[in-house]
């Protein structure tokens, strides 16, 4: 394949035909292209899996610093090899240099954390920018040497699968598979250290060694991904699949599998796109694909997704409002021995700051549950079930109020509002405890009649 363009601006893309798109998608576009696509997909899978542990160890941005710190290594390796008269385009040599300075960067972060008062964010920012700055200086030195091959180093910044040779793709795929194999083999140990490293230490596991292995895998994937995704965006390949997968599950192995799938899919899409539009930086496409998957996960996931959480929250709010209505009706009935009249209901709504539409929704909710029935003249009459509920809530309210007054020293005139929020979430066990605590203080607990007398 041709060498990378010197700048990614001199581009005029033309969309390929449908047949070409189909061929590329289904691995019929030639051996070389297929190799790149497979390699990048494998890399996506490996990054997804390794990223899970980086995320669980809260090392998302540490990986960012690591990837930025590879640039001076690439420059140094290039300069060294050129000075020795070797072929500076040899990928393994450049990647070795990248690994060395990448690791050095991580070590520097640790040193800064240990020997200065600087926090993690500042340490990461320092290492990231300084190493990258050194890299830029080295690149400008290389450019000024005018050996003609220097421009190719840019591909490590933005990623360019189109510039990959066959052996490059094989190397990347091999590293990715190695990372996957190592993670699968050590899944149990990694999980242990991620979730409870103190226990792992006590249990005799070599925690720092396992931790080091996890970090080494991150280094491996980062270095392998440099050429495909570029060092600015390789961090996204590590963390986005893991963060997205986290929305869907609480189980580690499901998390790992999902992250692998998301990473693999992103890698596949990115490299296909890059094969079709040779000068599209594959890194951007890969990251945007996983970004879309992230957005979908964050919005749609069944338990932790935004939609699911909003629905849950709405339900709870509606239930609380409905319970307030039932409570008000119960107390009114107790006092006046009559159904809650419409104007009283309006007063309740005003006190709760319910807009008119919400008031009707709440009445609808309570009727749906069989707690109230519409009386003649628009009054709210409780059913037996509603009366039971009202008695329960009213009693909870009383218990918590008394507890706050007798135990938390809150003035009786100040308790009502805070109790309004708590009375709906008291569990049975907590109520038993409250009763016991109040009896100990000698507080009388009156009967809350559930049956109309």
């Amino acid at each position: 394949m041709s060498s990378a363009p010197s700048s990614i601006t001199n581009v005029t893309d033309e969309w390929p035909g449908w047949s070409q798109i189909f061929e590329t998608l289904t691995f019929q576009a030639g051996f070389n292209t297929n190799l790149v696509i497979v390699g990048t997909s494998l890399l996506g899978i490996a990054a997804g899996i390794v990223g899970v542990f980086a995320l669980l160890r809260k090392r998302a941005l540490m990986s960012d610093a690591l990837s930025h710190a590879t640039l001076p290594g690439i420059g140094l390796a290039y300069l060294t090899v050129t000075a020795l008269g070797g072929s500076a385009r040899s990928l393994p040599v450049l990647l070795t240099g990248a690994t060395i300075t990448g690791v050095l960067g991580v070590v520097c972060i640790q040193l800064l954390l240990r020997h200065t008062r600087l926090r993690e964010d500042a340490s990461i920012g320092i290492v990231l920018s300084v190493f990258f700055g050194v890299g830029i200086v080295l690149l400008s030195v290389i450019q000024s040497m005018q050996t003609g091959t220097a421009a190719g180093l840019n591909r490590f910044i933005y990623g360019q699968t189109a510039a990959m040779s066959m052996s490059d793709a094989v190397l990347m795929g091999a590293i990715a598979m190695l990372a996957v194999a190592a993670t699968v083999a050590l899944l149990k140990e990694f999980a242990l250290v991620c979730f409870n490293d103190a226990f792992a230490t006590v249990d005799g596991w070599p925690v720092s060694f396992i931790d080091l292995l996890m970090m080494a895998l991150v280094v491996l994937v980062t270095v392998a991904g440099l050429q495909a995704v570029g060092l600015i965006l390789v961090v996204a390949m590590l963390i986005i699949p893991a963060v997205s997968a986290r929305f869907w599950t609480q189980r580690l192995w499901v998390l790992v599998v999902l992250a692998a799938l998301i990473g693999g899919a992103s890698g596949y899409c990115g490299s296909v796109m890059s094969a079709l539009l040779p000068r599209k930086p594959a890194g951007s496409v890969i990251v945007l694909t996983s970004g879309v998957l992230f957005a979908v996960s964050m919005v749609c996931a069944p338990q932790r997704g935004v939609i699911a959480m909003s629905i849950r929250q709405l339900r709870v709010r509606l239930r609380i409002a409905g319970e307030h209505l039932v409570e008000a009706a119960y107390e009114y009935e107790l006092e006046h021995d009559a159904a809650l009249q419409r104007d009283i209901l309006r007063a309740v709504a005003r006190r709760r700051a319910w807009p008119a539409w919400l008031g009707s929704v709440i009445v609808w909710w309570a009727r749906q549950r069989g707690l109230i029935r519409g009386d003649s003249g628009g009054a709210i009459a409780l059913t037996d079930a509603g009366r039971r509920d009202g008695a329960r809530i009213s009693r909870n309210h009383y218990l918590w109020e008394q507890y706050l007054i007798s135990y938390a020293d809150i003035a009786p005139s100040h308790v009502d509002w805070s109790v309004d929020q708590v009375e709906h979430v008291l569990s049975d066990a907590l109520i038993d405890e409250l009763e016991a605590a109040l009896r100990k203080r000698g507080v009388e607990i009156p009967q809350f009649q559930a049956v109309r007398t």
Partner: protein, 455 residues
Amino acid sequence: MNEAMHNFLSIDLLPMLAGTLAAVTCGLLGNFLVLRRLSLMGDAISHSVLPGLVMAFLITGMRSPIAMFGGAAIAGVVTVVLVELVKKLGRVEPGAAMGVVFSVLFALGVLLIERAAARQVDLDADCVLHGQLETLFWFPPGDWGQLFSFTTLSEVPRQVVTLIVMTIAAVVFVALLFKELRIAAFDPALATTLGYNAGMLHYLLMIFVAAATVASFEAVGSILVIAMLVCPAATARLLTDRLRSQIVCSVVVAGVSGIGGYVAATALPAAFGLEAVNAAGMMTVVAALLLVIAIVFAPQRGIIARRLHQRRLGRTVALDDMLAALYRLEEAGTESVDKAQLATLQRGHKADHALDQARKQLLVASVSGAIQLTEAGRAAARQIIRRHRQWERYLVDQAGFAADHVHEPAEQLEHINSAAVQRNLAAATKQASVDPHGRPVPNNNGDDDPESATH
């Protein structure tokens, strides 16, 4: 005006000025980021202004500075809002949330650049990263008199003018809102209760960071922005504990990095007959060197200062322990020891040095090899033993230690030599005259209280 001067003015002055101004602006704003542990927010914003810039280009179709600032400010705020959203709604850890947001936005920016390129808008992702200081060029007038005339100054490249305006804006921002920024940096909750809107201030700061990024990016690139947002503030943080001096210090460090970096990038390679290297990159290197110097040599927090302090402390402890050992021997009836015996008593310490020190301070005297306490040495030792036994008393009576477990902690605590601790300790132990093992606690006056020995 001679030719060298003219060359300097036309070739070197503006890049150096631009780099230094960018460094100073970012260094100034960075103080508040570092204090609020938001250093990486600067990193995130400087990556994610890219799509904002490109959008502004694509919409307006030109490189107008106002559109650029608008686009970047919007992108900056969008970044902050998105990070907050992902953090809160998605319950994602802050670092990961930042990583997700800025990498996706940056990727979007890189792709958008292609659209821009297809429409012949001149934008280059490389230039965004490492800048094009070298392209800043100026045609200064032939003599000094016209240097500050209107026509000359109006020919100063737009990037430099933008940076000058930005620097002034940042200085005014920090000067006007210094009090509010300070409170918000150290205690956002307090700021809110005092009636400052800490959230608004946060967004305002982020907008300034975004604006500084844009103002800098054409000239120096975003990598210098990230470095200058963190390094000078971090350096200053190691040198001082006061915010005012930290800010002054960081601005000086940033300025030195800017000028020094430029010189190092141009003059240094030229001295070896090489071509100039990337100046923005070199500025980050100089900033890093200054940081390393601060880490090693800072007067109180530097590695050397801390090592020296530790060594002094170690020597004091060794001396204290030696005096205490001699005192205990005297108590047991041994008036003097020889050097070998002393060495075995000084577990883990370098006995020689402590002995030299003690001799020099006339705390011990050795008469033909027999070492014994002098009067002054005995008084000093009494204080140490007094502290030791009072601590033992305190640990048993007040902290619930068993009597046979207090020697080791007291061995450490006895070296705390503070009048206030001393007073409180004496009060807490009710001036007890014996330690938990029944040995007398020496009193403060120096004369042995015969009563205490009998208890």
